[in-house]
C-alpha cells in the first residue's frame, strides 16, 4: 500500500502566500507577452527581486548562504509561477542545486543562492528521456578532462553562468560542472513554449579539471527528482491558470442567447479539468512531502508527472477549443498555456513514458 502522507509546513504556507502575491503582481499576462518578444525571455529586475526574497537559496544549506529548507519549499513557490506563466531561470537553477548537493559539489552553491543563473544540459539530439543515454564524452588528458558532444534543450543556456552537462566518462554517466561564459557554444533553439529560452550546447573542445566532474549516481537521481517535482509544480499551477482563463471566458461569452458556460459539453469538460487539477495538486504535495523528507519518491514523482502533464495538455487543448474563433488567434491566452503544457509534457518524460516505468515498479517486469 502506497503512503498517502501530505505535510505542509507553516513555512510552506507563508512561502505560498508570498509567491501567489508576487507572481500575480509581477507576471500579469501583458508582462508575459512582452517578455516573449525579448531575447532572454525574463525580466532581470524581477529575477533580482526573487533572489532578494531568498528564493534562489531556499534549498541551499545555511552554511552555503541559503535558508536550509528543501525541495518541497521550492515546489511551493514554483506552483504560482506556473499559474502565471512566469519563465525565469528559477527552476533550471533549482534542478542544478539538487544535483550539486547530491553530488557533494558545494563550491558554486553560494553564487547560486545569490542569484547566479544555473541550468542543466542532459538531453541530446535523439530526444531520449533516459538520463543515462549519453553520447557526449569526457576523456582524461592529464589532470584535465576533455569534453566532446552536443547537448540540447538547455534551458536558459544563453544567460547561464553555470551548466551541469551529462557526459560519459569511461562508459559511466557523470555530470560536468561548467562555468561560463559559453559564448559561441550556445545556439538558440526554437521551442514550442515561447515564454522559454532553450539552447544547444556544443561541448567539443572544452577542458575542465577532473574535480569538476560529479560521478556519484545520486546526483542523477537528485537531478531527475527535482526536475520531475518542479515540472509537476509548474503544471499544477498551469492547470489552475488555464482553467481560470477558460472559466472566465465561458462566463462572459454569449452564443445563441446563452452564456456558453451553461452548455454541458463545455461545463462538464471544465469539471473534469477541475478534477484533474485536484488530483494533480494532491500528487504534487505528496511527492513534495517525500522529497522533503528525503524518502524514495520515484513512484510518487512519476505518478505526479503522468497525471499533471496529461491533465495540463488536455486542459490547454480544451481551452483553445472552447474559446472558439478567438481561441485560434495569437491574442488569446489559451495558446500560451497549451504551449507551456506541451513543453512540460515532453520534458523529462511524457505521461506514457512514466506509466511504463511505473508499471515496472508497481507490477513487476
Amino acid at each position: 500500500m502506497l503512503s498517502n502522507r501530505i505535510s505542509f509546513s507553516g513555512e510552506q504556507g507563508m512561502l505560498l502566500e508570498t509567491a501567489v502575491g508576487f507572481c500575480r503582481e509581477r507576471s500579469p499576462v501583458s508582462a508575459v507577452r512582452a517578455l516573449m518578444g525579448g531575447a532572454d525571455g525574463f525580466d532581470p529586475a524581477v529575477w533580482a527581486e526573487m533572489a532578494a526574497l531568498g528564493w534562489c537559496g531556499i534549498a541551499i544549506p545555511e552554511r552555503f548562504g541559503g535558508s536550509g529548507l528543501g525541495l518541497a519549499e521550492v515546489a511551493t513557490v514554483v506552483e504560482p509561477m506556473g499559474r502565471h506563466l512566469m519563465a525565469t531561470p528559477f527552476v533550471s537553477g533549482q534542478i542544478a542545486v539538487q544535483a550539486l548537493l547530491a553530488g557533494g559539489h558545494m563550491a558554486l552553491l553560494p553564487r547560486i543562492a545569490q542569484g547566479a543563473i544555473a541550468t542543466t544540459a542532459v538531453f541530446e539530439r535523439d530526444g531520449d528521456w533516459d538520463l543515462a543515454a549519453i553520447e557526449a564524452t569526457a576523456t582524461r588528458h592529464g589532470d584535465h578532462l576533455r569534453l566532446e558532444g552536443v547537448k540540447t534543450l538547455v534551458e536558459h543556456g544563453g544567460v547561464a553562468e553555470i551548466v551541469l552537462a551529462s557526459v560519459r566518462l569511461d562508459g559511466a554517466p557523470a555530470l560536468a560542472v561548467l562555468e561560463g561564459p559559453f559564448a559561441g557554444r550556445m545556439r538558440a533553439e526554437a521551442v514550442i513554449d515561447e515564454t522559454r529560452r532553450s539552447f544547444s550546447l556544443d561541448l567539443t573542445g572544452l577542458e575542465i579539471p577532473t574535480a569538476s566532474l560529479i560521478t556519484d549516481p545520486a546526483a542523477f537521481i537528485a537531478l531527475r527528482d527535482a526536475a520531475l517535482l518542479l515540472s509537476v509544480a509548474e503544471a499544477a499551477g498551469g492547470i489552475a491558470g488555464v482553467l481560470d482563463v477558460t472559466v472566465d471566458y465561458l462566463n462572459n461569452r454569449t452564443a445563441f442567447g446563452r452564456k456558453i458556460g451553461s452548455y454541458q459539453s463545455l461545463k462538464h469538460a471544465c469539471a473534469d479539468i477541475l478534477v484533474g487539477l485536484e488530483r494533480s495538486r494532491s500528487h504534487l504535495y505528496h511527492a513534495a512531502t517525500l522529497c522533503g523528507a528525503n524518502e524514495d519518491a520515484e513512484v510518487a514523482l512519476r505518478m505526479a508527472k503522468a497525471e499533471a502533464s496529461d491533465v495540463f495538455a488536455n486542459a490547454g487543448d480544451r481551452a483553445v477549443q472552447f474559446h472558439g474563433g478567438f481561441g485560434f488567434t495569437w491574442d488569446c491566452d489559451a495558446q500560451l498555456y497549451l504551449r507551456r503544457a506541451l513543453w512540460l509534457q515532453y520534458s523529462f518524460g511524457d505521461a506514457a513514458h512514466h506509466r511504463r516505468k511505473l508499471a515496472d515498479l508497481l507490477l513487476g517486469d
Partner: protein, 396 residues
C-alpha cells in the same frame, strides 16, 4: 498508538480465527446489494458475532449496548477488518445513519429502544429519502405525513430502499406542511415498517438480482412519537444524517460497510487471469491501463488527505468534497469495465458459471457500479454541481 499494540494483535487474531467460512453463494459487496435471504442471514449472523465479541459500537455508550471505549480502538478494528477482507456488517443505515442520529438527538427512551438492536442486527434499518419521480432531489419530496390526533398518516412512495424487505424501521423524510416548497415543511420520522399500509415491492436490478425495494405508503398510521426533532426540521436533520454517513463528524458504530472490488484487486486479477495465452499483467496495454487506474486511485486517496490541510484547499474549499462522488464513482465504473477485459474469452461468463473468475463477481460488480454513477445524483448532475458550485459556471 503503541498503547493499543496488544489490542491490535488480539483483534487480528480474533478475526483470523472467527472469520466465517466462505459461503457457496456469492456475497454482496455492500448492504445495497443484499438480495437473498441466504446472503442476508449470513451477514446478519456475522454482525451479531462481531458485536457479541465486543468489536462493534465500541465507542458507543455502554448502557445502550456499546463498549464505552475510545474511538481509536474501534478504528483499529475497522482497519483490521479491511485488511483481512472479512465480510462487511449489513445494518449500515442503522450503524452509520440512524444510530448516530438517535444518540445525538434522541430521547433516553429512544436510545434504549433502538441502539442495542441496531448493533446486534436484531433490528435492521432502511432509509426512505429518494422518490420515484424526484431522483435524488430530496427537496422535491412529495411523500406526505398528515397529523391526525396523536398520529401521522403517511401517503406516498419511496424508491431504492436497500434492505427494504428485511428492515424493521425506516428513517423517512416526508412533507408535514401541505403545499410547502423545497426544503421547508419537511419532517423526519423513524417509521416501523410493519405498520399496516406500508408495503414493499422488490426491484429487480439489471444484474438479475434483487436488492432494492420500492416502498408504498397508503394511509399508514404511525404514532406521533416517531417524529425526530420538531415538525419542519426534516431537512436539517437529514443533512445531519448525511454528515454521519460521510463520516465527517464520526459517531458511526464502526465495522466495515462494504467489501468492494478495488484497483488492487484488479491488479491481483491481472496476475491470475490470462488473455492471449499469457497472464494479463504481461500485456503492455493492460499494464498501462492498470497504472492509469493506480494513479487515479492514489490521486483520490491523496486528495482526501489534502482535503484536511486548509492551506492547500483554501482557494476552492468545496472542490474536494463536492467532486468526491464524481471522481470515485466514475473511476470505479471504468475500472470494473476494464477488469472484464483482463479475462480474455472468459470475460463473457456470468455469475454461477463454474469457469467464471471468482464466481462472476467482476461481471456483477461492473453492472452494479452504475448504482453509484446513477444513484444519489447521476454523473451528469454531479458534473453540473462541480461546474456550477465550485467553478461558478452558469446553470443549464
Amino acid at each position: 498508538m503503541s498503547e493499543f499494540a496488544e489490542f491490535r494483535a488480539e483483534v487480528a487474531a480474533w478475526f483470523r480465527d472467527n472469520r466465517p467460512p466462505e459461503p457457496d453463494f456469492l456475497l454482496p459487496e455492500s448492504f445495497m446489494e443484499v438480495g437473498t435471504e441466504q446472503q442476508f442471514e449470513y451477514l446478519r449472523a456475522w454482525q451479531r458475532k462481531i458485536w457479541e465479541a465486543g468489536y462493534l459500537g465500541m465507542a458507543w455508550p455502554k448502557e445502550y449496548g456499546g463498549g464505552g471505549q475510545p474511538q481509536a480502538m474501534q478504528d483499529i478494528v475497522n482497519a483490521e477488518m479491511a485488511r483481512q477482507k472479512v465480510p462487511f456488517v449489513p445494518n449500515t443505515i442503522g450503524l452509520n445513519w440512524a444510530g448516530p442520529l438517535i444518540l445525538a438527538i434522541g430521547t433516553p427512551a429512544e436510545k434504549q429502544r433502538y441502539i442495542k438492536n441496531i448493533l446486534s442486527a436484531e433490528d435492521i434499518w432502511c432509509q426512505g429519502f429518494s422518490e420515484p419521480d424526484n431522483g435524488s432531489d430530496l427537496a422535491a419530496t412529495t411523500t406526505r405525513a398528515t397529523r391526525d390526533g396523536d398520529a401521522y398518516i403517511l401517503n406516498g412512495a419511496k424508491i431504492w430502499t436497500s434492505l427494504g424487505s428485511y428492515a424493521k424501521y425506516m428513517i423517512l423524510l416526508a412533507r408535514t406542511e401541505p403545499g410547502s416548497k423545497r426544503y421547508a415543511g419537511l419532517s423526519y420520522f423513524l417509521v416501523p415498517m410493519h405498520t399496516p399500509g406500508i408495503e414493499t415491492q422488490p426491484i429487480r436490478k439489471l444484474t438479475g438480482e434483487y436488492g432494492f425495494t420500492q416502498t408504498f405508503f397508503r394511509d399508514a398510521r404511525i404514532p406521533d412519537d416517531c417524529l425526530m426533532g420538531k415538525e419542519g426540521e426534516g431537512w436539517k436533520i437529514a443533512m445531519m444524517t448525511l454528515t454521519f454517513e460521510r463520516g465527517a463528524s464520526g459517531g458511526q458504530a464502526g465495522g466495515i460497510a462494504r467489501q468492494a472490488l478495488n484497483v488492487h484487486d484488479t491488479v491481483d486479477l491481472a496476475r491470475l487471469a490470462r488473455r492471449d495465452g499469457r497472464p494479463a499483467i504481461q500485456d503492455p496495454l493492460m499494464r498501462d491501463q492498470l497504472v492509469r487506474f493506480l494513479i487515479e486511485d492514489q490521486g483520490d486517496r491523496l486528495t482526501a488527505a489534502r482535503g484536511a490541510i486548509p492551506g492547500l484547499t483554501s482557494e476552492r474549499p468545496h472542490a474536494i468534497p463536492l467532486s468526491q462522488k464524481l471522481r470515485t464513482s466514475e473511476h470505479r465504473r471504468r475500472l470494473l469495465q476494464f477488469a472484464l477485459g483482463l479475462q480474455g474469452a472468459n470475460a463473457a461468463r456470468w455469475m454461477g458459471d463454474a469457469n467464471a473468475r471468482e464466481g462472476g463477481k467482476w461481471q456483477r460488480a461492473y453492472f452494479n457500479s452504475f448504482s453509484s454513477t446513477i444513484g444519489g445524483g447521476t454523473t451528469q448532475i454531479q458534473s453540473n454541481i462541480v461546474a456550477e458550485r465550485v467553478l461558478g459556471l452558469p446553470k443549464d
